[in-house]
C-alpha cells in the first residue's frame, strides 16, 4: 500500500491573532483540518476558515504564539476534522482537544466521526417524553429535565453554577437505563476544574462519564472545538451505543468569547456587542445536536451553562441561547440558599411531555403549576408588605408568605452533595403547598389533594 506524503506548504504570508494565512496552496477545501509544524518540531492544529484561490486562512487551536513566517510548514488533511468515537471515551479525562490528561493512552475509537456532525433529519426526531432525574429538587419538581432536551443554566459571576452543573452531572440518571455524562469544561479556572473533577470522580471511575477540560489558561481557540468534540462523542454513545447521554457545556460564555476573537481577527463586520452575526447559527449547530431518534433507545440531552455578563439576560449570549434552548434554569443572587434557582424565572418547555402520569408522579404538573402560582402570589404579597407592613396584610396573604418561606427552606435548599430521590422531592413539595389552606389549592384535583395534602395540626 502506498501512502502519499501530504503536501507541505511553507508560504506563510501573514500571522494575525489566531490566524495563519498560507499562500500557494492548491485544492484546499473549506473547513479542512490542518496541521502546522513549527521549526522546533512542535505541532499545532487548525481549521480552514476561508480559501481564496491559492490562499488559505487557518485558525490555529493552540494559538499563534511563537509562530514565524519562515520555517513553519502547514499540511492539510483533505477533509473536515474527524475524531475517534466509541465507549473508549468513558472514564477518561482529556484536554479540550481530546488528548489524555489522566496518564492513560490516547483515546481510540471503534469508528471516527466528523466533529461538526450533520443536521439530524427533523422527521426522524422523536418528541422528548421521559425525564432525566437530577436529584435536585428545584429542577426535578419545577423545571424537569427531559431526555433529548436542551435546557440552559443562566447564572451570574460568583454564583455556584459550576457546582450545580457538576452535581447534576454526578447525580443524574434515567432510572436504570444505560446512562452516560460527557462534561465539556470550557475556559474553567484550575480550581473550578479540579472541583468538577472531584465531583465526577465516582462517575468517571464507574466508566459512566467522560471529562473534557479546556482550562482558562489553555489556548483560547481550542474552546471552539471542545463542545463539538463532546457532542460528537455523545452522539455516538447515544445513537450507536443507545445510551442516554447528558452533555454539560460549561461555560458557554467563554466559548462565545473565543468565537468573537476569531471573528475579530478576520475583520468580520461585528453584530451586537462585537459578537459575530452568525452567533445564533453557530450556537444552534451545537445545541441542536440534542434529541431522540425514532426507533433508537438513546438520547442526547444538552445542559449548556453560561454566565450572564453583569447579570444581563439580554446580553447576546444568554439571549441567543434562550431562543435556541427549550427553557432555562436561572440562578439568582436574590435566592439566598444553594442551588439559588429562581423558580419564577426558570422554565422547562419540555416538562409537559416529560413529567406527569407514568413518567414521574401523576400530580406532578398540577403540583408544579400550583407552587409557581402560589410563589407568584407570595411575591406580590411581599411587595405589598414592603409598602404597608406585613401586619397590614390579610390572613391569606400571610399564609402565602409562609408558604414561600417553606418553599425556600424545605424544597429549594439542598446540600451540594445531597441527591434527593423523586419520592423525597414530592414529599417536600406537598409539605410546602400544605402551608396554604386547602381551598387555595385550586389547581390540584380533589383526588390529588386527598392523597397528598396534610392538614395542619
Amino acid at each position: 500500500m502506498t501512502v502519499w506524503a501530504p503536501v507541505e506548504y511553507t508560504g506563510v504570508a501573514e500571522l494575525r491573532g489566531p490566524l495563519v494565512l498560507v499562500r500557494g496552496v492548491r485544492g484546499v477545501g473549506w473547513d479542512e483540518y490542518a496541521t502546522i509544524e513549527l521549526e522546533s518540531g512542535e505541532r499545532r492544529h487548525g481549521l480552514v476558515l476561508e480559501t481564496d484561490r491559492d490562499l488559505a486562512v487557518v485558525q490555529v487551536f493552540e494559538g499563534t504564539a511563537g509562530l514565524r513566517a519562515e520555517g513553519t510548514r502547514v499540511t492539510f488533511a483533505g477533509g473536515p476534522l474527524r475524531v475517534p468515537v466509541g465507549a473508549g471515551w468513558l472514564g477518561r479525562v482529556c484536554d479540550g482537544r481530546g488528548r489524555p490528561l489522566d496518564g492513560g493512552p490516547p483515546v481510540l475509537g471503534a469508528a471516527d466521526a466528523a466533529v461538526n456532525g450533520f443536521p439530524l433529519n427533523p422527521t426522524r426526531r422523536e418528541p422528548p417524553s421521559e425525564p432525566v432525574l437530577t436529584g435536585i429538587s428545584a429542577v426535578d419538581a419545577l423545571t424537569t429535565l427531559v431526555r433529548g432536551q436542551k435546557l440552559a443554566v443562566f447564572s451570574s459571576g460568583g454564583l455556584p453554577h459550576l457546582e450545580l452543573a457538576a452535581q447534576i452531572a454526578a447525580q443524574a440518571d434515567t432510572g436504570g437505563t444505560a446512562f452516560a455524562v460527557v462534561f465539556a469544561a470550557i475556559g474553567l479556572t484550575h480550581a473550578d476544574a479540579a472541583s468538577v473533577r472531584d465531583t465526577l470522580e465516582e462517575r468517571l471511575a464507574a466508566g459512566e462519564s467522560a471529562l473534557l477540560l479546556n482550562l482558562a489558561d489553555d489556548p483560547v481557540i481550542e474552546r471552539v472545538l471542545t463542545p463539538r468534540l463532546a457532542l460528537t462523542v455523545a452522539e455516538y454513545l447515544a445513537f450507536e451505543l443507545e445510551r442516554h447521554v447528558l452533555v454539560v457545556l460549561a461555560d458557554m460564555t467563554s466559548y462565545c468569547e473565543a468565537l468573537r476573537e476569531v471573528s475579530s481577527a478576520r475583520g468580520e463586520i461585528p453584530a451586537r456587542r462585537a459578537y459575530p452575526g452568525y452567533l445564533y447559527s453557530d450556537l444552534a449547530s451545537l445545541y441542536e445536536r440534542c434529541g431522540r431518534v425514532t426507533g433508537l433507545a438513546g438520547s442526547v440531552t444538552v445542559l449548556p451553562v453560561l454566565t450572564m455578563p453583569a447579570g444581563d439576560i439580554t446580553h447576546p449570549v444568554p439571549d441567543l441561547t434562550g431562543y435556541i434552548t427549550e427553557g432555562q434554569i436561572l440562578l439568582s443572587r436574590d435566592v439566598p440558599v444553594y442551588p439559588h434557582v429562581d423558580p419564577l424565572s426558570s422554565l422547562s418547555r419540555m416538562m409537559r411531555a416529560g413529567a406527569g402520569p407514568g413518567r414521574t408522579r401523576p400530580e406532578h404538573l398540577d403540583l408544579a403549576a400550583q407552587i409557581l402560582a402560589a410563589l407568584a402570589r407570595a411575591r406580590q404579597a411581599a411587595e405589598l408588605a414592603e409598602l404597608v407592613g406585613e401586619s397590614a396584610l390579610g390572613a391569606v396573604d400571610r399564609r402565602y408568605l409562609a408558604m414561600a418561606e417553606a418553599f425556600t427552606n424545605v424544597l429549594l435548599a439542598q446540600r451540594r452533595d445531597e441527591a434527593r430521590s423523586l419520592d423525597e422531592t414530592f414529599e417536600r413539595a406537598w409539605r410546602v403547598v400544605s402551608v396554604l389552606p386547602r381551598r387555595e389549592l385550586s389547581m390540584l384535583s380533589p383526588a390529588a389533594l386527598d392523597a397528598g395534602y396534610r392538614e395542619r395540626t
Partner: protein
C-alpha cells in the same frame, strides 16, 4: 379522447438558457462561494458546486465573476472545483405530494431522507407515487390560463387542481391513476403535468386583488375578539423567548379555518418541529374528518440546517401558499421566525463584504420584508376563483427589544401585530398577547360584518384599558383607596383577563374556541361586570362584591357552550347575595 403524448420535456418556465456552462470555484467562505468563468449567468440562477453538486444561487455578478450563496454545508469545497450553471432560478417542485409532507427549505422531501442530512447523500424523489386523476376539461375546449384541467385527490386533503397554462385543450388524460410527472393534457401545444416547478422569489400571477374583508377565524379568543385578521392579511408576532410564540403559532396552525396551512419552521428548534409534525398527524380536522396534517405543508429548516436554505424557506413557503391560492383556496403561511431569515441575509451580506445598515443588517432589509409581506392578499385568480394567502410572521427581537430593525420595519408593512408580552408570560397569562401593545388595522372593517361584534369588541377594549390605567394607579396608592366604581373596574379587568383572554393550549375543550362561544363568554362576562357596577352604584360594599365566587364563570371556558348562560345566571345570583 386521445392519450397524451409522453415524449418531450415538460415546459420549463423562466429558463435562462445556456444550462450546463461551467466555471471554477475561486473562493469559499462558509456558505459564500465565489466562482470565475460564469459569463452569461443570470442573477439568482442556480449553480451546482463541486463534486457533490451542492446547490447555490448567484447573488452578484461582476463580469464573469459570480458570488454564489450555497444551500448546503460547504466543507471540503475548494478553489478549482467545478461550478455548473443550471440555467434556471431557484424553483420549487409543486404538486399534490406537498399536503401532509415535511420538506426542507428548498422543498425537498425530508420523509424518507437519511437520519443525518449529509449534503453528499442522495435525496428521495417525491414523484414516484400514483395519484387518482379526474379530468375537468374537455378535449377541444379553449380554456383560459389558471382554469382547472383536472383534479387529483388523496385521502381527505382538499382536491389538488391541475391548472391550465391557457389555450386549446388538444388532449386530456382519462380519469385514472397517474404519476405526478406524467403529462395529463396538452394545452396550447404544451404538455401539462400534475406537478410543476415554479421560481420561488417571484410572486405567482393573479388577476386582481380584492378589497372586501372576510375574517380568518383562528380559534384564539384574544385574537378573534380583539385583534382579528382578515383572509389575505398580514400579521407580525413579535415576542422575546419564553413568551409562548411558538405555542401560539402552533395553535393557529391547528385551529384556524384556512383550507391549507403552510408551516415554515425557519431556523427554529428540531424538537418543536418533531412535535408539530407528530401533533398534526395525530389530530383530526374537525371540518373534513381527515387528519390536520392532510391540509398542512410543513417546511422544516431547523436552526442547525444550512443557513442559506433557511433564507429561501420563507419564499418557498409563500410560493406553496400562492400555488394553493390559485386553486381557489384560503392558505395561511406561518413563518417562525422571520428574524432568523433576516439574520441569514445579514450573515451573507457580512461575508460578501456588503456595507451594513442598521445593526449590521443589509440595507435592502426593509424592501425585502415589504416585498415578502406583499405576497399576501385575497385575490381573483387567473382562472376566476377567489383565493387568499395570509402571512403570519413571528419576529424574535434580540433581548426582547421591540425597537430593533426587524420588528420596527415589519411593523410598517403588516396589517396586524400581536405583541407577546414578557410580563404576561411571566404571570403565566397565555396566550401572552398584549391587548394594549398590539394593533389590528382591519379590526373596524372586520367588526363591521356584525354590528354586535363591533360593540362587544369596543366594550371589552374599553374595560381592559380602564383596568390597566387603574392597576397602574393602584400599585402606587393601593387598591383600597380607590372609589367603589374603580375597584369594580379592576375586578372587571381581572374577570375578562382570566375568564376570556387566557386560553389553555393544553385543555382539550379550551384549545380552540369558535366565534359563537367566544361571543357567549364575552357577553356573559360583560353582563356580570355591568351588574357589579350597578350594585356598587347602589351602595353595596365593594369588598362584599369582590368576595363573591366568580369561579363558575372563570371556568366556563372549559364547559360546553350551552352551559355558559346558566353559569352567568349563577354568578349574577351570587352577586345579588352581596346586597
Amino acid at each position: 379522447m386521445g392519450a397524451v403524448n409522453t415524449s418531450g420535456a415538460p415546459g420549463a418556465p423562466d429558463t435562462v438558457s445556456a444550462s450546463g456552462a461551467a466555471g471554477t470555484v475561486s473562493r469559499v467562505n462558509g456558505p459564500l462561494v465565489e466562482v470565475d468563468g460564469l459569463a452569461g449567468a443570470a442573477m439568482f440562477e442556480l449553480v451546482e458546486l463541486g463534486p457533490h453538486r451542492l446547490s447555490g444561487e448567484v447573488v452578484s455578478l461582476r463580469g464573469a465573476h459570480a458570488t454564489v450563496q450555497a444551500y448546503e454545508y460547504t466543507g471540503g469545497l475548494a478553489p478549482g472545483h467545478r461550478a455548473e450553471r443550471r440555467g434556471a432560478p431557484l424553483s420549487a417542485l409543486l404538486g399534490p405530494h406537498l399536503l401532509g409532507g415535511v420538506f426542507d427549505g428548498l422543498l425537498r422531501p425530508l420523509d424518507g431522507a437519511g437520519l443525518w442530512l449529509d449534503p453528499a447523500a442522495p435525496r428521495p424523489s417525491p414523484t414516484d407515487r400514483a395519484w387518482e386523476f379526474a379530468p375537468l376539461a374537455e378535449q377541444g375546449a379553449v380554456i383560459g390560463r389558471g382554469t382547472a384541467l383536472g383534479a387529483v385527490r388523496s385521502g381527505a386533503s382538499p382536491p389538488y387542481l391541475v391548472l391550465s397554462p391557457g389555450g386549446e385543450v388538444s388532449a386530456i388524460r382519462r380519469a385514472g391513476p397517474c404519476r405526478a410527472a406524467d403529462p395529463v393534457a396538452v394545452v396550447g401545444g404544451a404538455e401539462v403535468t400534475v406537478e410543476r416547478r415554479r421560481p420561488v422569489r417571484r410572486p405567482l400571477p393573479y388577476a386582481a386583488r380584492l378589497d372586501e374583508m372576510t375574517p380568518l377565524t383562528t380559534g384564539q379568543r384574544v385574537i378573534d375578539l380583539l385583534l382579528p385578521v382578515s383572509l389575505g392579511g398580514t400579521v407580525a408576532v413579535p415576542g422575546g423567548f419564553g413568551t409562548g410564540k411558538t405555542v401560539l403559532l402552533q395553535q393557529i396552525a391547528k385551529w384556524c379555518d384556512a383550507d391549507v396551512v403552510v408551516y415554515v419552521g425557519c431556523g427554529e428548534r428540531g424538537n418543536e418541529m418533531a412535535d408539530v409534525v407528530a401533533e398534526l398527524a395525530g389530530m383530526p380536522d374537525p371540518r373534513t374528518g381527515g387528519r390536520l396534517a392532510d391540509r398542512t405543508v410543513v417546511i422544516a429548516n431547523t436552526s442547525n440546517m444550512p443557513m442559506m436554505a433557511r433564507e429561501s424557506s420563507v419564499y418557498t413557503g409563500v410560493t406553496v401558499a400562492e400555488h394553493f391560492r390559485d386553486m381557489g383556496y384560503d392558505a395561511v403561511v406561518i413563518a417562525d421566525s422571520t428574524s432568523r431569515w433576516a439574520e441569514a441575509r445579514r450573515e451573507l451580506g457580512s461575508r460578501s463584504g456588503a456595507l451594513p445598515a442598521e445593526e449590521g443588517y443589509p440595507a435592502d432589509l426593509a424592501s425585502a420584508l415589504a416585498a415578502f409581506y406583499e405576497r399576501a392578499g385575497r385575490v381573483t385568480t387567473l382562472g376566476g376563483r377567489t383565493g387568499s394567502v395570509t402571512i403570519v410572521g413571528a419576529v424574535s427581537p434580540p433581548g426582547g427589544d421591540l425597537t430593533e430593525p426587524v420588528t420596527t420595519l415589519t411593523q410598517r408593512f403588516v396589517r396586524s401585530q400581536w405583541t407577546l408580552d414578557r410580563d404576561l408570560a411571566y404571570a403565566r397569562h397565555y396566550p401572552a398577547v398584549s391587548w394594549s401593545g398590539s394593533f389590528a388595522r382591519d379590526a373596524d372593517a372586520l367588526a363591521g360584518v356584525t354590528p354586535e361584534g363591533a360593540a362587544r369588541r369596543a366594550r371589552v377594549t374599553a374595560l381592559l384599558a380602564e383596568a390597566d390605567r387603574l392597576t397602574a394607579l393602584a400599585e402606587l396608592v393601593g387598591a383600597g383607596t380607590l372609589p367603589p366604581h374603580e375597584r369594580v373596574a379592576l375586578l372587571g379587568g381581572r374577570l375578562v383577563r382570566e375568564g376570556l383572554l387566557q386560553q389553555s393550549a393544553l385543555s382539550p375543550t379550551d384549545a380552540h374556541c369558535g366565534p359563537a362561544r367566544t361571543a357567549a363568554l364575552a357577553d356573559a362576562l360583560l353582563a356580570v361586570v355591568e351588574r357589579a357596577q350597578a350594585l356598587a352604584r347602589q351602595g353595596v360594599p365593594v369588598a362584599s362584591i369582590e368576595d363573591r365566587d366568580f369561579s363558575p364563570l372563570l371556568r366556563a371556558k372549559d364547559a360546553p357552550e350551552e352551559e355558559i348562560p346558566a353559569r352567568r345566571d349563577a354568578v349574577l345570583r351570587e352577586l345579588e347575595a352581596a346586597r
